[in-house]
């Protein structure tokens, strides 16, 4: 695994910081055809909102030697569109405000122009894919994986329920990254106690 090279990292306002959690590049070359881009985002100083950062660190280790890049940031911003346009697949990892704490949700992401955004510092994954396609002519096959949070209070550690979901999320992302032809066309939800349920879309 290589430690981050800044060329591959796109962040935002509001303060994307490493915060002791570096960005990672796990592919061995600096080619522009990174196969998978994994984006963990949220506020790492707001407990479970930092789930994407925690998952990103674990994935950087788990995917060492794979053709994948992991980046972490506070928010999704328009600059990410360029990076997305340069990869074949993308995974967005975030905390979810709804659901039973620790529940894992997985859904495919397709390009979709958002209806409006008065606050322009932040974007959503589908809007970013639309921007990547529109500006650079390509968007990756993408999925979002989120975990229902228990706490957004000040703190840099995860709640027990959300922490317990980390290994499963890492495993799911690794499996998806390693698939030759990923099937992104369904929504999956896993309760905190296992028993995944799948919803075709």
């Amino acid at each position: 695994m290589k430690k981050v090279d800044s060329e591959r990292c796109t962040r935002n306002r509001g303060g994307c910081e490493h915060n002791g959690g570096p960005l990672f590049i796990v592919h061995s070359s600096m080619s522009t055809e990174v196969r998978t881009l994994i984006v963990g985002y949220g506020n790492p100083l707001r407990s479970d909102d930092g789930f994407g950062w925690h998952a990103g660190r674990m994935l950087a280790q788990a995917l060492a030697g794979q053709d994948a890049e992991v980046m972490t940031c506070h928010q999704l911003t328009p600059e990410l569109a360029e990076s997305l346009s340069q990869c074949g697949r993308a995974v967005f990892i975030d905390a979810d405000v709804e659901g039973e704490p620790g529940a894992i949700h997985r859904r495919s992401i397709v390009p979709e122009v958002p209806p409006s955004s008065a606050f322009t510092h932040t974007c959503n994954p589908s809007g970013l894919l639309a921007s990547a396609q529109h500006l650079y002519g390509h968007h990756p096959v993408s999925m979002a994986i989120t975990v229902s949070a228990q706490s957004f209070e000040f703190g840099d550690t995860l709640s027990p329920a959300v922490s317990a979901a980390l290994p499963e999320v890492v495993d799911q992302v690794c499996q998806w990254v390693r698939l030759k032809e990923p099937n992104s066309s369904r929504v999956e939800s896993t309760s905190p106690r296992g028993n995944p349920s799948f919803v075709d879309v």
Binding site: S6, R11, R13, G15, P78, P114, T120, C123
Partner: protein
């Protein structure tokens, strides 16, 4: 009397609201800008070791942490009473140039270009950066590339794009990797080309905004900015030059330690944002502007060839003193070009690769002031410490604060010209926000106390009459 509230002002850094009072005929009777945050850094840093201040105060903002890092580090240099190594000074300035490029790109392309490209009266649902992406993809790509370049400069030097800890009291904590220097240098030609292209575009559309130029903060004020001994634009070093509305220099080369002789600080009852003023004139008449427009108004030249060519054209077209705040956009693009050129000069100096990067010392002064030009204007960090180096008092004057009075007056001018309370249209109110955006304020940065935090609580009757009022003493 009726009141219109714009809450929140969008496409700015931080949070603000505007209130517009209408008289019975629907005409604007008055306006106010309210900054609704309070930060408190001056208070909660008391007792902290001075050398922690750069890292702590960088957290004031996620957009311009580099500015706070640099101003704070310079204040700490003064407390240590050291002259930092030449290499450290060069590297700090390169970092600063990277910030200017990314911050000015953010302001122009992401925040203000929707008004300029899509129109002040266009559909507000699409009048944002995403609307620009759809309709003007070439310009959007330029904006993304330029901001990314500036961010890469910061991250290449400081290893972190936001809140880096590389700038420290006495210098910087790591030398420049030659490979990073070469990578930055390789990106500069594209950055300059992008900025020249954007300037050409912007100059081409200026005539579409004649009315905005006329009424967007187009009023006399003083101007303040840092210049070197020859009067050239400075972002990292230099002293303050004040010019009056006619372009006459009224104070020059004011050192950081002397700022209090020239800058007073007032509080407003309706805002957490304090209001600095030019002390010899007094409050509130001593209003002055800072930032890109002010800097180009006070400087004799930029000092780099392409920026100077644009600087000369700017003044040939618009006059020796350019009073309209709409032209902050134009000035911002020239400054970004200067940032890219200046960066190139600094990185081509062999000193940039030196290994002597930090001076070490303890507390040699019980007081230190650091001053730089942040992208939005002059930034001052002033600390007092005890003999152990613990902070006993701190004062921050942030760029947006300097512009507080000018922004308020500009909103008033725009509202009185455009807002018709009986035939209200969204575009009228958007212009009240657009004039705020022209200053590129960073309100999350700017709310720092001066004395008692202003507080006013009013009890209003249903028809708006004030029944009771409580004010902080």
């Amino acid at each position: 009397m009726k009141k219109i509230t714009i809450d929140a002002v969008t496409r700015i850094e931080g949070h603000a609201k505007i209130t517009i009072q209408l008289d019975d005929s629907g005409n604007v009777a008055g306006t106010q800008l309210h900054i609704t945050q309070v930060r408190g850094f001056e208070k909660f840093t008391e007792g902290r070791p001075y050398y922690e201040m750069p890292s702590i105060t960088a957290r004031i903002c996620g957009i311009c942490p580099v500015s706070h890092l640099l101003a704070s580090s310079k204040a700490c240099d003064a407390i240590m009473s050291v002259r930092i190594p030449d290499t450290a000074a060069v590297l700090r300035e390169v970092l600063h140039c990277g910030q200017f490029v990314q911050s000015h790109a953010l302001s122009f392309f992401h925040l203000s270009s929707p008004d300029l490209l899509l129109g002040m009266d266009s559909d507000p649902a699409r009048r944002n950066v995403l609307g620009v992406l759809e309709k003007f993809p070439d310009i959007a790509r330029d904006g993304i590339a330029l901001r990314k370049f500036g961010q890469q400069v910061i991250e290449g030097l400081a290893k972190e794009r936001i809140h880096p800890s590389w700038t420290v009291p006495g210098g910087v904590n790591a030398p420049l990797d030659p490979a990073v220097r070469d990578r930055i240098l390789a990106g500069i030609p594209d950055a300059k080309a992008t900025l020249r292209r954007t300037l050409k575009f912007f100059k081409g559309v200026l005539d579409q905004f004649k009315e905005e130029v006329e009424f967007f903060g187009n009023a006399p004020s003083m101007y303040a900015g840092l210049v070197d001994g020859a009067g050239k634009l400075q972002h990292y070093e230099g002293g303050i030059r004040f010019k009056d509305a006619d372009g006459k220099i009224v104070a020059d080369h004011i050192a950081a330690r002397d700022y209090r002789n020239f800058i007073g600080e007032a509080t407003l009852p309706t805002s957490y944002l304090k209001a600095p003023y030019y002390k010899p004139v007094g409050f509130p008449d001593g209003v002055y502007r800072v930032g890109p427009l002010a800097r180009l108004n006070v400087a004799r030249s930029c000092g780099t060839p392409q920026a100077d060519a644009e600087f000369n054209e700017f003044h040939q077209r618009l006059g020796k003193i350019v009073p309209s705040s709409f032209h902050y956009h134009y000035a911002r693009l020239i400054e970004a070009l200067y940032g890219a050129e200046r960066m190139e000069v600094l990185l081509n100096d062999p000193v940039a690769l030196g290994k002597q990067i930090r001076a070490h010392a303890g507390v040699n002064n019980l007081e230190g002031v650091g001053m730089i030009e942040a992208p939005r204007g002059i930034l001052i960090h002033h600390y007092k410490v005890n003999e152990e180096g613990a902070i006993t008092w701190a004062n921050l004057i942030v760029a947006t604060g300097h512009n507080n009075l000018a922004i308020n007056r500009s909103i008033d001018q725009v509202a009185r010209h455009y807002v018709d309370g009986k035939h209200l249209k969204e575009g009228m109110l958007n212009r009240c926000s657009a004039i705020v955006r022209a200053y590129d304020p960073c309100f999350s940065c700017s709310t720092h106390a001066s004395g008692q935090v202003p507080l006013r609580i009013q009890l209003l009757a249903p028809e708006g009459a004030v029944l009771d009022e409580l004010r902080s003493q």
